[in-house]
Symmetry: C2
Subunit: 328 residues, 2 copies
Amino acid sequence: MAPSAQSLPTSVSDEKYANVKWEELGFGFCRTDNMYVAKCKHGESFQEGKIVPYADIQISPCSAVLNYGQGLYEGLKAYRTEDGRIVLFRPDQNALRLQSGANRLCMPYPTVDQFVSAVKQVVLANKKWIPPPGRGTLYIRPILFGSGPILGSLPVPEYTFTVFACPVGRYHKDNAGLNLKIEDKFRRAFPSGTGGVKSITNYSPVWITLAEAKAKGFSDVLFLDAATGKNVEELFASNVFIVKVEERVVPVEDLLDAEEVFCSGTAAIVTTIASVTFKEKKTEFKTGDKTLAAKLFATLTDIQMGRVEDKKGWIVELTDATKPGLKL
Amino acid sequence: MAPSAQSLPTSVSDEKYANVKWEELGFGFCRTDNMYVAKCKHGESFQEGKIVPYADIQISPCSAVLNYGQGLYEGLKAYRTEDGRIVLFRPDQNALRLQSGANRLCMPYPTVDQFVSAVKQVVLANKKWIPPPGRGTLYIRPILFGSGPILGSLPVPEYTFTVFACPVGRYHKDNAGLNLKIEDKFRRAFPSGTGGVKSITNYSPVWITLAEAKAKGFSDVLFLDAATGKNVEELFASNVFIVKVEERVVPVEDLLDAEEVFCSGTAAIVTTIASVTFKEKKTEFKTGDKTLAAKLFATLTDIQMGRVEDKKGWIVELTDATKPGLKL
């Protein structure tokens, strides 16, 4: 349920907020004012790109991404704190993950500084689209893809790095906890595949099962590993945690025995899982204010919204001196 | 090595041939005059599209294909026969494969008639790019992808079906037979994945090993199955055949014991494999004029080039009455 907001003029406006019904904000596409674009030829490095009005991308019909799926995405958020600051949460970690994925998919990539600078510029150029505190966040979507034409053999002659942003509310609508389907047919990632990076090739192949699960009323799908079909991996777009279990391989049986289960992700934040259904059998878990998930959600969003001091150096603040177009 | 030909005016010219050095034709991208585009909204069916001048596609930065890899491709060829006809080879089979993949990736698709009509229109609108008999073929690339913006949840609001074409020579340059690396780390397809359809997500994830093998002088990579790592699957863009082995699961040992091995595909046609290298050990096979591969290559191309009668109904001829823009 994207908001009904239409696009506004592309200059950075003095109005504080865009014309969005913030109370109806879901997690969906919403056209904003500006985006960042940088291009890079094969054998060269990414140079500083520029902020341009949000518009369709022009791309070769024979481009690597359209024909062979050479693309990565990232997702992070800008937060408007209660005392009026605009902050990011650990954007350098997104830059590093993009770099790792680019190596896996044979692409050049922006430096960490270029990446963080691009994200900052996009946030400032779409400042009025950042929801008021407590009403949502500005979701930032960097994408890196093979834009040059290729038929048959490598190399790809051109790559594009683009960053755009949309205001979003909660990703999962089930505030009382998610009801998951444990997928027992489709697998998502396999050893030596691309499960370790944020490749676009990891998503559309499992839409078929997500769509089917949602049609049956489930909140999301929990995937098992491809090698054995017995161990817990992740939800469609978030990690999964089981309370009192360390970071290790988790057989489905351990999940079904758990007291509390939750998921986390940039979009999902921290969300309680109320139940999982495996081969038609439903198992329920602890929900409500007394869960660890509720405490973690409060702590994390308190840090992100500036209500609690950040002692880890996770918050990156955008100041008035951070102007679009300048090297940050 | 794409030919150096530049794009020419977009009207269908009376000149018989484009300005291409046919004798230097490799298998690579070459810009031609016209392409076909059809779009379809979610919940609707594809209607007849149209031929437009070849140009970049305009696509949402938040499109399903750029962000989540929702795309398929097909590949087929138009042949100029020695008696001056222009023919296709079993294009309905490509249409059916596209439909199967579209179901897998949750996309609507053109009918078989729409698909074949689009291919015919693209060939006729780029007629002068079809190489002279014996000098190559016109490679036709239909692509189907999620072009509408999506963030978070389905459905994708718009899909695009595009067909373009490039004149090509042989895909593999090693006429004496291919020297393959048997990949012993990276896998390509896994049970319940997308290996059974021509999804764009099957390609870029294995470029890393193809690039490494080519850098070491190998012609191509032979993949083993993800489930066991012991059985033969396919090359990067073609099937593999072992002479005197029926269609069944083929352990690597059976491959190493074979007398003759070859691969096939729209791009590869039928190509002899001279050797495979598995964990640093090279095994050689029969090559030359006396191979079954040489006979099959001759028979297949004789049918495609009109030198031998087609008794199977595989050839689809394009006549002068087949005008672009008309329903065929």
